[in-house]
């Protein structure tokens, strides 16, 4: 029986191929074929996160930015500076239940400056 490849290895391979300029379609087709063959399609979401992790390590960062209200251009520029990397990309999301502030998710890391998070932390401290 072939050895089970770790998600980390698959993600590293995929990211390296993409960064080397191999056609995105070809790379993703081969990864998809492997996942189907190995009956591991359920791991798709986690694999995407892992690929994002490896890409971030190589300087290509995609950040998910959630806020209670739409962000201003100045704030976006500030966030890009915080995130770092050569060409950071932002995926914006408006969530009114965050009450205020902003939450930035980059692969493996989070900046949580939302009021909801502060309230949760306060409650945990009181307990």
């Amino acid at each position: 029986m072939a050895l089970r490849l770790s998600r980390r290895k698959i993600a590293t391979y995929t990211a390296d191929q993409l960064l080397a300029g191999v056609s995105k379609r070809d790379v993703l087709r081969s990864v998809a074929a492997y996942l189907v063959d190995a009956k591991r399609t359920r791991e798709l979401t986690l694999l995407v996160r892992d690929i994002e992790d490896v890409l971030a390590e190589r300087g290509h960062i995609v950040a998910d930015v959630a806020s209670a209200h739409p962000l201003s251009e100045t704030l976006k520029a500030e966030i890009k500076k915080l995130v770092g990397g050569s060409t950071p990309q932002l995926r914006e999301l408006v969530e009114s239940d965050l009450l205020g502030g902003v939450r930035v998710d980059v692969p493996g890391k989070r900046f949580d400056g939302t009021i909801r998070h502060k309230l949760t932390a306060l409650r945990a401290k009181q307990l």
Binding site: V83, F111, G113
Partner: protein, 508 residues
Amino acid sequence: MADIAITELSQNLRDAIAGLKTSEGLEEVGIVTRIGDGVAWVHGLRNAGFSEMLEIETKEGIVEAFALNLMEDEIGAVLLGSDVNVSAGNTVRLKGTQLEVPVGPELLGRVVDPLGRPLDGGPAIKTKKTGLVEREAVGVMGRKSVHEPLMTGIMAIDAMFPIGRGQRELIIGDRQTGKTAIAIDTMINQAKQKSGVVNVYVAIGQKLSKIARLVDRLKQEGVMEQTIIVATGPSDPASMLYLAPYAGTAMGEYFRDNKEHALMIYDDLTKHAVAYRQMSLLLRRPPGREAFPGDVFYLHSRLLERSAKLSDDLGAGSLTALPIIETQAGDISAYIPTNVISITDGQIFMETDLFYQGIRPAISAGLSVSRVGGAAQTKAVKSVGGHLKLGLSQFRELASFAQFGSDLDAETKGQIERGQRLTELLKQPQYQPMGIWEQVSSLYVVNEGLFDKVSVVKIKDAQAALLTRLWTDHKEDMRKLNSGDKPDEKLLATIKKVATSAAKGFEG
């Protein structure tokens, strides 16, 4: 070699540090991918360390966990609370610390859970210090050989299997044979003899009613002020049962490291191993013998190795351990019993048969042993208990011939009769630990054959009469004897005289 401007090196390094971009406020996070049976599987957190604390952010608040399985793609973490509110997708943060519990004298008299939170309805516990739950044991040079006695107050133990401060002595036996009773009596004796030893009783998965009864009893006996109880019940998560002995040890170590003496009681390590087995199987670690994981020996060896007598340089404090193991049908060759027997410095084996014959404490003279305690035995007890174990073992072998009493030679008959009296004398009711003077005078009298004419059934009455007379008429001598020094000829003559007259009332 190129010229290096060493004088500028410091400035260059400072400039380089200033030039580095920092991402302040960015915390390392992961997400829960699966949750069930108190185990959460976490994606991310590549920098997590073994046994590091994690915080899972749920809608209802923070749930703490600790990382035990560090794998290439995910982390297996055991929750320290209920998993009801944790769901897949919850954010997990690294706390950056290992598990610590409050330690210090503020805990004395309290009943706490393995995280040091009060369970007795008392005020919140505020200690000045905290102690690491998982800590390395003291090294070779930090130790000293066991040489001070830790009196249990149980004559059979103090005379035949003496325990020293810093020793690990296992109490092993089937259910309902009096294992916990020995541990409780030892705790009571520390208060009664004013030994200054702090007791830490760790209840692992014990019925809460049993713990409540124990607390009541300890309060009644005045022992609670020098006792800490770390309690976990059968309905607590396996992680809490797993942590309990380590947390208790951290609390005991505070006293050991501050030149004091502490006594740990782990009741019992069988349940601890079972809780660890549950955790390991849920973490998908490969099962071994009896489905226990491969590191179940290390589980207990690293715990018990923390009990030690410290060297003078480290303050000469001590941590003594009395772990308890429950056997099934007297089988001491099962996996966990053999493991713990090999780790400890001796064992006290409790026999069901003896218990039901009314010989209580039901200590088996043949299977029990104390490997290092001999050096710690008080001279007074040693002077009268030297050949006790051999005599009692021989008697138990010969006892089966007792029914053919008339056909035996005089020597064997004498041995059996002495053994019967000795067995009777070693019976001791619960919660009545004996002082050194009581033990020495009782044993001396039987060894010298002064009670040979007293009928076996009246031995305990004769002993009570002897002790009452000695205490009433020779209080100062008995106080001197209680200091532990070898009794002189004059003192022994006094005991002999009193015993001879006390025996007269019980002959026949």
